[in-house]
């Protein structure tokens, strides 16, 4: 990949050529995704570590009452996140005409995941005070939802970009869709890990 600037494109006015902006967004989104992966790595580690230590035998909480999040919600959230990421990513490979529909669908799915997670919190059946597993569950899913919400805002701006097709260059719109969908893809990976650990392994 040639990552250096083309001198012919530049002008006295420091307004970057769209190709450069596009490359910035793409590269930036890859690094941002890596940062987020490391962020959730901490929770991944916390889960496995606390589970392995099982201090005072309290990993799953105080005996008769073991926290058990509802699997139905879990599956629903998983599906929404995966579908959102898949739709966003797929539209990258389709024609520019599909970007708008793709990003809107992804936005709806991501917001649905946020909504489902909030609904699950309000009917959880246990609380953050129920020892280690409950802590990891609440912390991981809670912060994941916050991250999703932030990504949803970004997605909304991308929807705006691709809707006003006349104003921004094609490369820029392509990069915007590509960037946000890549981050969503990584978040979907995190969600798969979360689902396996929090709902199946426990």
């Amino acid at each position: 990949m040639n990552t250096t600037l083309d001198p012919a494109r530049t002008t006295g006015e420091p307004v970057e050529p769209p190709e450069l902006l596009a490359r910035n967004i793409r590269v930036g989104s890859r690094i941002w995704a890596a940062s987020q992966a490391f962020f959730f790595l901490a929770f991944f580690f916390a889960f496995l570590y606390l589970r392995a230590l099982n201090t005072a035998g309290l990993w799953r909480g105080w005996p008769p009452h073991h926290p058990d999040p509802s699997l139905a919600f879990g599956v629903a959230i998983l599906i929404c996140v995966l579908a959102g990421a898949a739709v966003a990513r797929l539209s990258v490979y389709l024609s520019a005409a599909s970007w708008r529909a793709g990003t809107i669908a992804a936005l709806v799915l991501v917001l649905a995941a946020v909504g489902l997670q909030s609904a699950q919190f309000s009917s959880l059946g246990f609380g953050p005070t129920d020892a280690a597993y409950a802590s990891v569950f609440v912390g991981w899913t809670g912060l994941f939802t916050v991250t999703l919400l932030g990504t949803a805002y970004w997605l909304a701006t991308v929807v705006g970009d691709v809707s006003r097709a006349g104003e921004t260059a094609l490369v820029l719109r392509a990069a915007a869709v590509d960037a946000v969908s890549f981050v969503l893809l990584v978040l979907a990976g995190v969600e798969i890990a979360a689902f396996i650990l929090l709902y199946i392994v426990k």
Partner: protein
Amino acid sequence: MSATAITVRRPVWRRLIGFNMLTGLVLGIGGWFLGAWIGGQMAIGHDYLVGTDQNDVGIYMGYLFGLIGWLVGLGFANYPIGRLLGRPPTLRHHETGGWTRYFRLCTDHKVIGLQYLFGIGIFFFIGGLNAMLMRTELLRPVEQVWPAGQYLTLVGLHGTMMIMMTSAFILGPFGNYFVPIMIGAQRMAFPRIEALTFWLTPAAGLILMSAIAFGGIPFGWTGYAPLSDQARSGADAYVMAFLLIALSMTLIGINLMATILTMRAPGMSWTRLPIFVWGVLATSVLMALASPVLVAVMSMVLMDRSANTSFFLASAGGSPYLYENLFWFFGHPEVYILALPGFGIVLEILPVFARKPLWGYRLAVAGMFGVTILSFMVWQHHLFVSGMNAGLRPFYMLTTELISIPTGFIFLNAMGTLWRARIRFTVPMLFALAFFFNFLIGGLSGVFLSDVPSDVTTHGSYFVMAHFHYTIMGGLVFAFFGAIYYWLPKMMGVVFNERLAKIHFWLMFVFFNLTFFPLFAAGFLDMPRRVSTYAPHLQWLNDFVSASAYMLGFSMLVFLANLVWSLVFARIPAAENPWASRGLEWQLPTPIPVENFARIPVITSGPYEYGVTGAPPVADFMPAALPAAGS
């Protein structure tokens, strides 16, 4: 909007209104009270409040809303809102307008660099002041000036402030200012994010200092979990401040990395990249990957303290080890975040004043990235006696000692560059040379610590403290001052008083060593860290150290005096290239125009071709290209 439209004169009071620091401060304080009130409402009726006089939820909400107020007041909300409303983004109007742009959201990377320099300088000064107060307490082996709790808060504030602020000590001011120029770009990849990284820093600093009002942070900069869980609300300030700084570090890392990867001018191949830029690149990898883990661990502390989760509470299924692991998984890369930019600076300075090419350029790059990769694999060397994973200790001993190899490369580069050189003893060169002496001692003392049998003696003692002051104060801070003396003529357009600068250097070098070298002995003589009282027979040693520390502080005042004198009173204009350096930044006029380069230059040669016969000039600034659009 054009630049000339701004120059309309308006009364001062009118100019204070608008999106600037003052508005930010007002909204921030207002936001704090609003948030604290909301948090108070949220927490009503929760049983854990019964019997305590504090409500951590309220305090966290206060900080959150305060932060939002601060950022909104500075104008950070305008862009996201505009984006959603469909207004096209533009940066231009953020880059113009007199001196007030230093107190506003400004997306010119050169303004942000200077904002960073002075912002961090102030916090560094406060951290140094704390150190002076600590040394005063340690004049006598009994408790005298500060009660034990306040002494510990001083230690915590000093350590946290210093570590937080010096993380961006070089990347903030010099990385932001010079990386785009050195790679031949007109700006950074994400200018708004760049501004955000800076403006989060004062917010974090102020929040950290607010801990004093809430019972202090009597748990050091490491904030080990059950202790910080037990502490009063000052711990909330620590958590919030560290969280924000970690966010800022993540973003600055992403931004600098993206800039270096995508914005290099034509001809700026990887082998022509200035070594400082390589150092910044390696550091930004660490920042982008390690700091998110700090965000995560701080949010776990936050939840433990406010939502009553039990990540770190052994009696409820958690484990203090989890905190220690996660903290040091960030904490060790963090110390190389402090070291690597320093390597970059000194290797950048040496060739200029040795008048020789950088010796072993590829080795230097390999050294930096070797350190980067290894630093993710050594964190348990801080936990050798903690009782966790004792079977892994040989592994961590090995990886830790392996880091000496890539770090040694940097020393070899320096030695090769000095070999048969034509050294000029300018002030930046003196600081660069002192860096190697100090860091050598600091690094080799690290090898003691990495050997487990030896670490059993010295862990938790002043030996560790001396080790890291040698690497950070002796390494990073010396490199920082070298960079100031080297680049300030370009950044500010004035020259320093050389006489005062040399006095500063010699005072600082001599008294730095007199302050911290004896502390290796104090550690060997079983003086634990973080104590305000100690064994009486160590008093003479500590008195000597305190006296030297005051002189060290005095040397900093010499620097400040020089800064004020040169900047405000003497104002002797600097030559455009006073050091006859080949660096791209030195080929530009002073002051550097807003857009740096009228046209993107074409790089024609490496930056260190001193003495190479027939070496072309570094860049072609007016490449024969299409005429600029609009002309």
